[in-house]
Each structure stands twice: as C-alpha cells, then as structure tokens.
Amino acid sequence: MHRDIRVSNYILAAFSALSLTMLSLPLSAPVRAFKACALYLSDPLAFYGIRGAQRMADIPAGTARLLSADMANVRLEAQLRDAAWLKTELEVLRTENRRLTQALSLRAAPGYAPIWAGVMERDPLHWYDNIMVDAGSERGVRLNAPVFGDRDGALVAVGRVTEVRRDSAIVMLLTDELSSLAAYLSTAAVDGLVQGQGGPRLRMNYLHSEAVLAAGDLVYTSPTSATFPGDILVGRIAALNPRDPFLTFQSAEVDLAVDAAKLSHVMILRPRTPGEALEAASAKTEASAAPPVKADKPGPPEKADKSGPLAKADKPGPPAKADKPGPPAEAAP
C-alpha cells in the first residue's frame, strides 16, 4: 500500500513539474515543440469533427437542394444570358474607376481578400475571450488579421486573429479583457478606445470630456485603427458612465452589434495572393497607360487615405484627426 502511495507521489511530482514548466516557460523551445506536438495530435479532432458534423447536417439540406435544383437551374440559365452583358458593363466601369482613381491620386484599395470560416470551438469557461475557427495558414489567415461577423447582411467587427495554425486559428474577441480598438461615435463625432471587459459589453474610454453623448449612438471602427478598416460597425452606446471630476475624459458602455454567443461563421481578411497582386499591378499599369483625365479641382479628397474594401461611402465620416486629441494606440494582443 505504501509503495502505491509512493509511486503516485512520484507520478504527481513528475506531472506537476511538467505542467509548471510549460506554464512558466511558455516561449522556450522545448515547451513550444511540445505544444506543437500536442496541437498536431489534437487539432484534427476538432477540425475533422466540424467537417463531419457539417457533412451530416448537410444531408437533409442536400436532398432538399436536389429537389429544387431543376427550378433553380432554369432561373439561373436565364440570368446567365444577362450576365454576359453585365460582365462587359462591369469591366467598363472597373476600367473607368481605375482611370479616375489614378487621376485623382487616390490610394489604391488595400490588398485584402475575404475568407469565410466556421466557428469550431469556444471555451465555455471564458465565453467572451476567444473562439477557434476552421481556417488557418493554409487558407491564408495571418496573425492580427481583422475578423468580422454578419448582422442582417452587414459586416460588423468581431475580433482579431491572435494565433494561426495550419487548419485553424484562434480569434480574440473584442470582449476579451486584452482587446482594444480605436473607434469613433457617429453622432458626437469623437474618437475613443473600445476595450473589452471579459463580459458581453465593451467600454469606450477616452471620449472628449466636452462631447455630448447619448445612449443609442452608433460606434464605428476608426480609420486610425491599425487592424481594422474604418467605418465598420462595432455596436451602439448602451449606457453612459457617470463623469469622474478627476478624469479628463468620459467613458460609456457599448453593446456589441453582433452577439458573440451566436457566432457561427466569421469573415477574416487575408492579404491578396501573389497572383492576385500581380493582376492588380497589371491593372494599375493599364490604368496609367490610359489617357489622363483633367481634374477640375486638383487635390486629395476628404477621405483619401481610407479606401478599405468594406468602407461605406454613405456613412458619416469620422472626425478629423488633427483638431482634437486622438485615442491611444490599440494594444497589441
């Protein structure tokens, strides 16, 4: 009996030493190698699990699609006939857009392409911290890439990629305590820093002390954000925190535009592939070879530096950056 206890104590000591070494030296080479081995063994479980689950879930839907395929086929054939003309029209408009962009000295749109990914896993104990998605480095996901969710067909900010694996990636949600994001209020036209609190709500700090705020104001990503394109909806002001006379700024609670608990799919922006970049470069060359258009009013437009693929022209623009104190830089994860 005593021998059994002694053996158990030895095993306890060995496992404890191993665990504490992994905890205290997370960046050392042996621990990283060990973690890589553990990831290699355990990642397929979640990755192929979600694939299998999707396949099983698709069986009834696939049957229904098969039944309606013929009807859809007839309709699509009719649309296809119109598509030829639409394609030609699109090419003409694209060429014109390039020519005008060149003529007005606008900066080209950043080279990003979207990746749609499914949410594979989330930790119930830390619900608002992070999620794991089924797209990794093989599909072009990069560290710190912005991640968006869907709300009634519009994209909203969700988080950023903090760990990239071969077939999966971990996304730090905006609600994580370590997350922060430069944002602005649409109605009050003030910049601030949206920070996670580990709960369903965010806190927007560093709002100008004289700004008039109201519950319900929409919060958008700021063009000064290092990670996100500008003018992406983050949420809306839920409540204003009482003013602290010893602080030179105001703060407010923000409700997320998309409920983090209901995320099933997300969109990640990835840099364009070399082939896509080459195509863009050739298009630029083609545009520069086109005859220049004489602009009536030379000079950059108001939002010359903000031409993200998701920017919406009809939204209220952010306040000018030079005439008021800007928020602190976003914290790196």
Binding site: V7, L20, A38, S42, L45, R122, P124, L125, N130
Partner: protein, 157 residues
C-alpha cells in the same frame, strides 16, 4: 481495460467534450465531462490512471485555448490524484459521495485555474459566477453517464 480501449475512451471523451462545448453550450455553460471522467477513472482505477488521463485530457483542453498552456493539465491531474487518494478513505464509487466529491473537485478546479492565472499572468483567471455556481451541478448530472460509460467499457469482452 486494454490500451486500445483506453485510447478509444480518450479520443471519444475529448470529442464529446469539444462537441458539447461547441454546439450544446447553454448560456455559456457546458458540463466538464473530462473532469467527471477523470474522477470516475481515479475512483475505480486509482490515482495513477486518474492522473494520466487527467493530464492528457488537460493537454487537449489547453490546445484549444491560447493562454496558460499546461493549466488544465495541471488542474485535471490534481483532480485525479485527489480522487485517487480519497478512495482510500471513503467509498467514492457510491453515487452520493461521488456527487459531493464532484462538487468539491469542480470548485477546486476553478480555484486552481484562477490561482495559476494569478501566478503566471498576474490576474485571477476567473470563469465567472455562472460557471462557478452552475457547472458543478451540471457535472453532477454527468456522473451516471460516466458510470454507464465505464461499465460498458468494462463489460466488453
């Protein structure tokens, strides 16, 4: 239980835990199946088997999270050790005592994770009051399933 059955149990339990967390979480709550199974194994096979399974399942949980790699392995391994040692003093196979032990070990698990967070990342790794209060009860509901699973594995020729 031979090695093949052990491997099947390990993979199946990890898969069920992942599936439940990913798809069946209700208000962010899901049972800690791996913790309950670690205790079931430790209660029936002793602390060594409990620690082994707990450590490996903990590593699986750690790979699903970006921070504190090793924390779940440490906490589940301690759970296996504690249950294995308790079986020398009390009848941990009995349903009532097993429920009490699961309640205590679940809260202990949260506290160990929190303390590891305090030591290694300078902030108490708090799971939230909802999980702290409800998960142990949820875990108790998993005890019969874990027992049936164990009996089924034992009864296979």
């Amino acid at each position: 239980m031979n090695h093949l059955r052990g491997a099947i149990l390990f993979v199946a339990a990890a898969f069920v835990q992942w599936w439940w967390s990913a798809h069946w979480s209700f208000w962010g709550l899901s049972p800690q199946i791996l913790l309950v199974l670690t205790m079931t194994i430790a209660a029936r096979r002793g602390p060594n088997a409990g620690m082994g399974y707990g450590f490996l399942w903990g590593l699986f949980l750690d790979t699903l999270q970006p921070r504190l790699f090793g924390a779940n392995a440490f906490a589940l391994m301690l759970t296996g050790y504690g249950t294995g040692m308790a079986r020398r003093q009390i009848d941990v196979v009995d349903a009532l005592s097993q429920c009490l032990l699961v309640l205590l070990m679940s809260w202990g698990y949260f506290l160990v994770l929190g303390l590891l967070g305090m030591v290694f990342v300078k902030s108490f790794w708090w799971a939230g009051w909802g999980a702290f209060l409800c998960d142990p009860l949820y875990n108790c509901c998993m005890i019969p399933a874990a027992s049936v699973c164990w009996q089924w594995l034992r009864s296979r020729p």
